[in-house]
Amino acid sequence: MVSQTITLLALFSLGLAPERPPRNPPMPKGPQPEFVTIQAIDPAQKRIEYLHTEVVIVPITVAVLENGRQVTKTAYRQEYRMSKRAIVLEKEAVYDTAGKKVAAQKALKRLKVGDTVLVATQPVDPLYLRVIRPGTLILVSSAVSMPPIPVVPAFPKDKSGEPPPKRLP
């Protein structure tokens, strides 16, 4: 009788308890895909050209006033660069948002110039694809190297601890 009451109370409290958010939400395994727009399609070679946007960090020279004197310093600025890249569908894999493989011929029929697709170096984690419309194609190519983030060279520091200014272009 007591155990039944405890069970009933436990079930009742579980029903009333507010939904707790997960303490450690699941994390995607692997890198995130990139959004690209298709620029050209060659159906004979099953080749697709797309536009890729990347962020690069560029050093710039700025003039600053220090103790009433104008000195030049190096600062870093983010720039967006676009580059065209190509992928041959027959050599690589195409997936849909459900993670199913799409045949190269079928993918070619679905793709149009100007379409937005996702590009990745490995099959994309479903956590990313939760916000992507069904029907979107994901081009997976091991040859598509992610843009390397330029390693900022270690400038020799002067006495004041500041790196020497770069020459203006």
């Binding site: 958010p21 939400p25 620029q39 600062a75 110039v113 916000v131 983030i149």
Partner: protein, 147 residues
């Protein structure tokens, strides 16, 4: 003159559209303090690292520096009050609605500016886009103009 203009229009129409600005990034909501309006976001980013690697060249062991891409989990803070949250149509999402929609474990998009609609064509309409302040860039202090 009219025909030239028509040709130009046709040529511009034939060119595929080009998105303006950077593409949005994916992030997972790790925690969200509704009272403070503070969200913690997790992102997996590919970072280049210089790694020393031993190799044998002409029978001799040499150490080379190889650039390797590693995945890192980066945690960032987002303030609902200070930042802007948009929907895929580019409309601002009010703070009250954000509290309801921003859930722990949810996937959101993060960008430093409103993403181009070309990118958002493949994004589900209920997705939240968090606009964060761009990386701080030191602004030059120019000398006062000479009078």
């Amino acid at each position: 003159m009219t025909s030239q203009f028509a040709i130009l229009v046709v040529l511009s129409l034939a060119q595929p559209p080009i998105p303006n600005g950077p593409q949005p990034q994916f992030a997972i909501v790790r925690s969200f303090d509704k009272a403070l309006g503070q969200a913690t976001l997790l992102q997996i980013q590919a970072v280049s690292e210089v790694v020393p690697e031993k190799a044998i060249v002409n029978g001799q062991e040499v150490t080379r520096n190889v650039i390797r891409q590693v995945l890192r989990t980066v945690e960032t803070q987002f303030s609902v009050e200070k930042g802007t949250i948009l929907d895929t149509a580019g409309k601002k999402v009010p703070a009250a609605e954000v509290s309801k929609r921003l859930k722990v474990g949810a996937t959101v998009l993060v960008a430093s500016q409103q993403p181009d609609p070309l990118y958002l064509r493949v994004v589900l309409p209920e997705t939240l886009i968090l606009i964060t302040s761009p990386m701080p860039v030191p602004l030059p202090k120019l000398p006062p103009p000479k009078t």
